[in-house]
Symmetry: C2
Subunit: 250 residues, 2 copies
């Protein structure tokens, strides 16, 4: 058989968990270099020009951007399709995934999880509680209102589970980990939909792994991944100094 | 035959011209409601939740996001394919299109064209010359350096012309219209590639239309579009007041 696929990026990242969920649903073998992107070196920039995780390495092919990777895997390994067949449904799912990757992430990840957890942890900066409260009061309701109108009453957005459903749901574990956001009681239909996606097997395990990876000490990482039966690999992308920049994405 | 497709959005927008170029290359009939997105009303928000142009209306289906629309059109109308066939090339093109839509646009459109032209024109705000100079000195070189490494020596990124090539090239007319940016002599390979894409017929005409639409007075718009043989349609999305917001995209 072929070599296992290599993923670069910590499973704390929702985008990494989205791709790992796709790999699991496809039944593909994979191993991981759980890079925290702020710590990536110049080799990381070469592999991922926008310094984004995840990166997928499949032989000679190196891809970044979780949506590009997910659609690549779906086309390369057509079993267990993660995109609907109907052309209009495919377009609707691509829009939902784009919305989840961008505006939803702007609020949940860049507006809440990053300022509450990542930046204080990595850059030792103080939390800006007023900014967090403003995001919760002003930015969160419109995106949740939109999800509430899009949420299916049962099942998933286009019937069977797709990467678009995964793209939405992965951010909500990070929202809980941020420890600052309210519950989703105001948006019961969206909350139930997200709950159904999070209950799909690969996400149960991957969200549990992500929660553990969030607090694990560096020397204890091999034991953590071994506990989950996941192979670690060193792709040579980790630097020693945290680098912050406009092209650095969680 | 079916009704012509409807596009909402002014051809001043690079994203609108990308979709119009796809429609032209596919030989599809279309008409346009040339909305300036800042002037969109609540009906526009309903059709395009992130208030982005272009919007495509195809019967009951309403889509926004130029990349989602372009891939929808390519799947719905397979003649004159605008995506390569090989799975790895498709992934590479999707990444290039994502890069063009986001980071390249951050610099050329949001960093230069918007502050130089759109915002002073619509919001009557003063141009911030120092900010423009900083973008030209600091942000432009890295994105152009990356394009220089990706530019093919001849032809297009994956052989035949794709939407990914179009997605890159459309921004450079806006860069010229901004009137503030230097030439591309430092990046000869990228410049030649962009020139080849801009020389492909639909873009020659669409860039000429965009340049005219940039300065046309509102009452003269019907005559301008009639000159280009393009049908206008009122989709009811234009409000009277310019609305600015984080979810408003050119």
């Amino acid at each position: 058989m072929t070599e296992p696929l290599t993923v670069i990026g910590t499973p704390v990242s929702p985008y990494v968990r989205k791709v790992l969920a796709v790999l699991e649903l496809k039944g593909l073998a994979w191993r991981i270099d759980p890079l925290v992107p702020f710590l990536g070196n110049d080799e990381f920039t070469r592999l991922s020009p926008l310094r984004r995780i995840p990166v997928l390495i499949d032989g000679e092919l190196v891809l970044s951007d979780s949506s590009v990777i997910a659609e690549y895997l779906d086309e390369r390994h057509p079993g267990t399709a993660l995109m609907p067949r109907a052309v209009a449904d495919r377009a609707r799912c691509r829009w939902l995934e784009e919305f989840a990757d961008t505006r939803l992430a702007d609020v949940l990840i860049w507006g809440l999880f990053g300022p509450a957890i990542t930046r204080p942890g990595i850059f030792k900066s103080a939390r800006d509680e007023a900014a967090l409260a403003r995001v919760i009061a002003e930015d969160l309701p419109p995106v949740m209102d939109l999800l509430e109108t899009m949420a299916p009453e049962a099942g998933f957005y286009a019937g069977d589970l797709t990467t678009a459903d995964l793209a939405v749901a992965v951010h909500f574990a990070n929202l809980r980990w941020s420890g600052v956001a309210p519950g989703l009681d105001r948006w019961p239909r969206a909350a139930a939909w997200i709950g159904r996606i999070e209950g799909a097997e690969p996400l149960v395990r991957l969200n549990a792994l992500g929660a553990r990876a969030l607090t694990v000490r560096y020397p204890d990482r091999p034991a953590l991944f071994a506990e989950y039966g996941i192979g670690l690999v060193d792709t040579g992308v980790t630097g020693r100094e945290a680098r912050r920049g406009p092209m650095t994405t969680l």
